[in-house]
């Protein structure tokens, strides 16, 4: 079976930190295949096993090429052998699968292969220009005249001999540094460089099948800094759930960087994956899945409960009772939910209630709340429940007996209100506000 190689040629001339770039690109490339190797100025990927993944060959090619461009790769070429791919990349030919490999390679100048380039002067004096010319020379003569590397490289490039590569292994932790091309004065200016490092991190995460829950961006001030500025600084950014999504991480980083003031211009940055947790792959549904959406809502509510505390995310439970404060109770998220059918009350009920009824001030024997109240409907008498005793905090039992006449009152400013007149004690027959019909 023929192999499928990609050669990502980096640009040494413009980038002054090619070594770290190469390692970064190799890390990033590990998300496509576990077989990644570095040679000279290029990173090579063997993606034969991944051709049917990532949405097919064309999609995979497009993903690798667009990603590589963002990582600062100069040229991407495809070929059946790694040396051929490298040669095509040097020559500027993207697709090495267009014609049979030997035909395409024969046309290339012989200095495309580094093992052949070593002997460029001698070969040129022999009248060779292309790889075809070199191949036409007698093999025994070449092996006697030149070293054996030349023949080996030629055979490997043409796919006649197997290639031996040192595959890059995945590091256990992620930390990538980038020397900035110029001094960066503002924190938000770090974002461009950080994005490249985050891309590498997402490649590393994809290869590890993991997501990041916290990552740190460190920056070092340049050597011309003021002595008070210190070495540099860092920020750690946390996400709610493990993610590999570069766009999301960049957004988070941008929001955090917006609040950071650099004490001195920064010269290089470093991104570390501080907390990594395994990411469970999800099956995607073809149809719009409503059950899944409610599952997502459940997760969010759990997360909110985790942050705000218990008894802060509440679900209502109706209770059959005629007292307003006992008609419902709000329960925590994980409390059991009953399916008992509650007969709804037919008395109009307010939409908001006060936890403890508010005693209303009186003006000329009439209750006032934000101005005079107009009593519209009533009375609706609610009384009883002498059997209901609760233990108060002082350990004294307290009766929840009520004797109230409820009225619908109208206020000019506060709208329709649900107020009651306490009938328990004759001496202070006070009015209380208990609810709002908002």
């Amino acid at each position: 079976m023929s192999m499928h190689w990609a050669a990502l040629l980096t640009d040494v001339r413009t980038s002054n930190s090619s070594a770290c770039d190469m390692a970064g690109i190799a890390l990033w490339a590990l998300q496509f295949t576990p077989r990644v190797t570095c040679s000279g100025q290029a990173v090579m990927l063997e993606i034969t096993q991944s051709l049917r993944l990532f949405g097919g060959q064309a999609q995979l090619h497009a993903q690798v090429e667009s990603g590589a461009k963002e990582m600062g790769v100069r040229f991407t070429a495809w070929a059946p052998t790694s040396l051929a791919a490298l040669a095509f990349a040097e020559a500027g030919i993207a697709d090495g699968f267009a014609k049979p490999l030997a035909q395409m390679l024969d046309l290339l100048p012989f200095d495309c292969l580094s093992a052949v380039k070593v002997h460029a002067a001698t070969l040129a004096r022999l009248g060779c220009k292309t790889l075809a010319d070199v191949r036409k020379l007698p093999r025994s003569g070449i092996s006697r005249r030149f070293d054996k590397e030349l023949l080996l490289a030629l055979d490997q490039a043409y796919g006649l001999r197997p290639e031996i590569c040192r595959w890059i292994t995945l590091p256990l932790s992620f930390a990538a540094r980038l020397e900035l091309p110029g001094r960066v004065d503002t924190a938000s200016g770090l974002l461009f460089g950080a994005r490249r490092l985050l891309l590498q991190m997402s490649g590393w995460l994809a290869a590890r099948h993991a997501g990041v829950t916290a990552f740190t961006l460190r920056w070092r001030h340049d050597d011309m800094r003021a002595c008070t500025a210190g070495e540099g600084g860092d920020i750690t950014i946390r996400t709610a759930e493990p993610t590999q999504n570069v766009d999301h991480l960049c957004r988070l980083l941008a929001e955090h960087l917006a609040q950071v003031v650099l004490l001195a211009p920064a010269s290089d940055i470093e991104v570390l994956a501080t907390e990594v947790s395994p990411l469970a792959e999800k099956n995607h549904s073809l149809l719009h899945d409503t059950a899944k959406q409610s599952e997502v809502l459940g997760q969010v509510l759990e997360r909110i409960e985790a942050r705000l505390g218990k008894k802060r995310v509440l679900l209502p439970k109706l209770v059959e009772d005629h007292r307003l404060e006992c008609m419902q109770c709000w329960q925590a998220l994980d409390s059991p939910r009953s399916n008992a059918v509650i007969n709804p009350t037919h008395v109009p009920q307010p939409a908001w209630i006060l936890r403890t009824p508010l005693k209303l001030a009186m003006l000329e024997n009439r209750p006032i709340y934000q101005g005079p109240l107009l009593l519209l409907l009533g009375p609706d008498r609610v009384e009883g429940s002498w059997w209901h005793q609760t233990q108060s905090s002082e350990n004294a039992s307290q009766s929840k007996t009520v004797q109230r006449d409820y009225w619908v009152a109208l206020s000019v400013h506060a709208g329709a209100l649900w107020i009651f007149q306490q009938r328990l004690d004759a001496e202070d027959a006070a009015w209380y506000l208990h609810g709002h019909f908002a």
């Binding site: 997502v296 997360r303 995310v313 008609m327 009350t345 307010p350 908001w352 009593l375």
Partner: protein, 273 residues
Amino acid sequence: MPTVTQHQEAPDSLPKDALHQRIGLAQLSSRLVNAVWRGSDRVSAQHAVVPTGFAALDAQLPGGGWPCQSLTELLQPQASLCEWRLLAPSLKRLVSEGGHILMVGPPKRPHAPGLVQLGLPEKVLVWLAADTPSERLWTTEQLVKANPRGAILAWLPQVSPEQLRRLQVHAQACDCPVFVFRPELARRDASPAPLRVVASLGMDWELHVQILKRRGGQHEGTLVLPSIPSLLAQVLTPRLLRPSQLMVRKEASHVNALGRAADRRSHQQLVSL
């Protein structure tokens, strides 16, 4: 009582043909006419909307309802004034499609039996008791990001424009309407919410709604929407449907009562009304 200017016919409600006659567009091809955007046109809805349940309000909102995938700011003179009266008709529809009503930091304790009477069954209600401004914001943002079904109601009295902008950015990816309740004092502040509405109460069981900001042309005047909370509609007598007249009568009785030691009689009179 504040005086209320009745909503006047806005130029955008003119028949289209008359408009064409006036500016001489009738001769142009229909394709060209459709391509010309006039400032008085309301923007056609790019996003889904939820009908408000009030025909007069629907007619003035871009797309004909509360917008999904965007923030809607509701300003009120005081909290817990008319939230449910304004939103219940539209929420009822959302709930019937299997959504949840997510309340972030409501100003008072929600009364589930009362909400059931408004057509919102207790199973769909979720009360997120976030107290501090930062908790409220964080909770709202998490909910918006989760893209739930139903509606998000957030009471954010102290929110800043930057925070609202952030919410609005997230809301663009959220398929449910997001309502933010703020005090009416905020009406002079700039806000990134595409729709801003001021709601206050009228005396005779009505809501006075002003649209401060919407996509498309400016809206002038006040909309008067009839609205009677929950089951009160069934029990109000025709006389009680006009409380303003009762108020006037009460004030009149007050004038007579001047100089009296105790106004016991007028109180009883009022009660017997």
